[in-house]
């Protein structure tokens, strides 16, 4: 059952929001071993289901990453440090609720959304629904797991350096990192306030589009425009670096895009090799600054990996952020020119499928690399330039999902989701579901 189908059925009163919320709450309990949720708002959600506004998401159960404030529910950021009970919703949550959505709970994340594995030492790892011994990716790993295992009809994640796209690809669901500035970040625990973006993770591009309509009034969907005549640039260096089986899936997806009428050609993205360094130079000092009061008083309470990154940000020379900011302008300007002949850029969303929990390295291009470092080239360029990127499922390697990334021009989410939707109308990768516990969702 997609979010789009739920919207239709709830609007036609084929079933009630309370019925739908009850089914999802049962599934959350039955699949507690996935550790997708940090807190569950069972009583509140059932009560709210009785009195949701008659908006476009009337009665639809959603869940949000636990760095995003929901009034009256503790925000932990999967940390030992944060226990904020916010008096008001983050704007993103307020907009979903104003559209009629019901918030089921808060989802697991990498500690303070500052990492790619969602293996918080304080709340435990989120488990990939396709193989419980594997990571979900991160930092919005709980959002990826919940969307994949039907533990919410739609979810919110945040993305600084890939945190929506990584779990979407590794969990076999659809996620959209919107343009910087499209969805307000207030009420969201920051990583890097000039790079952070809040966005949806759900089953399909159509579902993400419905969520984005509520999140961003400026967004005008154009899902049925098709791919005819669309100019798509393939970022070949990112295809060449992938695990061969993942690369083969991406090539098949490109063939499908061509069949659907797109013109796919090679795109040259200048200085793409520098994007990771630039992003680190911007992000690390901003994160350290945001955490400085806690670094002074609660340093030992951070997990080791997050503590190291925050301290690195604190101890970089002051010139690092300046170099990063100048580098960002340089890279973004050159990228804009390189983007000119295209409507979209594409590449494999990630170079590998989800590795086992506890495995720090992956093999890419014959090299053993830290998982975190292997992902940087796939995520940093577009985050730096503030562009919208969707990750859509494009197949499986040994039972584990892989994704294709579609990158758009700034504030052109409509073309990104239009292409994703056209691809998903022609394929069924996004409809595949892992085996989960509990009563399956009714067909409704």
């Amino acid at each position: 059952v997609s979010l789009a189908r739920l919207v239709e059925g709830l609007r036609a009163r084929e079933f009630s929001s309370r019925e739908v919320v009850s089914v999802y709450l049962e599934r959350i309990e039955a699949n507690a071993d996935l550790n997708a949720y940090i807190s569950i708002r069972a009583e509140e959600a059932l009560a709210e289901a009785e009195r949701t506004p008659a908006g476009p998401l009337h009665g639809v159960p959603v869940a949000v990453k636990d760095v995003i404030d929901v009034a009256g529910t503790t925000t932990t950021a999967a940390s030992r440090i944060l226990r904020r009970i916010p008096p008001r919703d983050a704007t993103a949550v307020a907009r979903l609720r104003a559209a009629g959505a019901v918030v089921l709970g808060k989802l697991n994340t990498h500690e303070f959304a500052f990492g790619a594995t969602t293996t918080s030492p304080h709340f435990g790892p989120a488990h990939n629904p396709w193989a419980h011994d594997r990571i979900c990716g991160g930092s919005s790993g709980g959002s990826g797991a919940a969307a994949a295992a039907d533990l919410a009809a739609g979810t919110l994640g945040t993305d600084t350096a890939g945190s929506i796209r990584i779990p979407s690809a590794l969990c076999g669901v659809t996620g959209l990192r919107p343009s910087i500035g499209l969805v307000p970040n207030d009420g969201v625990e920051p990583v890097s306030w000039t790079v952070d973006a809040v966005g949806p993770i759900a089953r399909s591009a159509e579902d993400c589009s419905l969520l984005l309509e509520a999140l961003a009034p400026e967004y005008r969907p154009d899902l049925d425009g098709g791919l005819g005549g669309l100019r798509i640039g393939l970022v070949e260096p990112l295809l060449e670096r992938t695990q061969p089986e993942v690369g083969a899936l991406a090539r098949s997806a490109l063939d499908e895009l061509r069949t659907l009428g797109a013109r796919v050609e090679s795109a040259v993205v200048p200085h793409i090799d520098a994007a990771g360094t630039i992003l680190q130079a911007v992000m690390l000092p901003e994160a350290a600054q945001a955490h400085l009061p806690r670094l002074r008083t609660r340093l030992a309470d951070y997990g080791q990996d997050v503590r190291t990154r925050l301290l690195a940000g604190l101890l970089l020379p002051a010139t690092a952020h300046v170099t990063g900011t100048r580098g960002r302008e340089w890279f973004s300007s050159e990228l804009e020119a390189a983007f000119e002949p295209f409507d979209l850029l594409v590449h494999p969303a990630m170079p590998v499928v989800a590795p086992p929990i506890g495995e720090d390295t992956v093999e890419v291009g014959g090299e053993r690399l830290l998982f975190r470092l292997a992902l940087i080239p796939y995520n940093s360029p577009w985050a730096l330039a503030g562009l919208p990127v969707a990750s859509v499922p494009c197949g499986f390697v040994d039972g584990m999902p892989a994704g294709l990334a579609l990158v758009g021009r700034r504030f052109d989410e409509a073309t990104v989701l239009r292409a994703a939707h056209a691809y998903q109308r022609a394929t069924d990768w996004h409809e595949r579901r892992p085996t989960t516990a509990g009563t399956p969702l009714p067909t409704w």
Partner: protein, 55 residues
Amino acid sequence: MGTPTESSSEELLRRLAARQGVEPTDDDLAAVRAFLEILLPALVELAERLAEAQT
């Protein structure tokens, strides 16, 4: 125990952290030093590329 150069780098990092009111452990400093040993040369190279791009 690290080499004398490593120990000296970590001592410098400790003093920089202390001036900002932060007190990392020896293990923290060793991890940060290893992290920065990768990032700082990349930043130097980036600064050089930016300078070239301006000329």
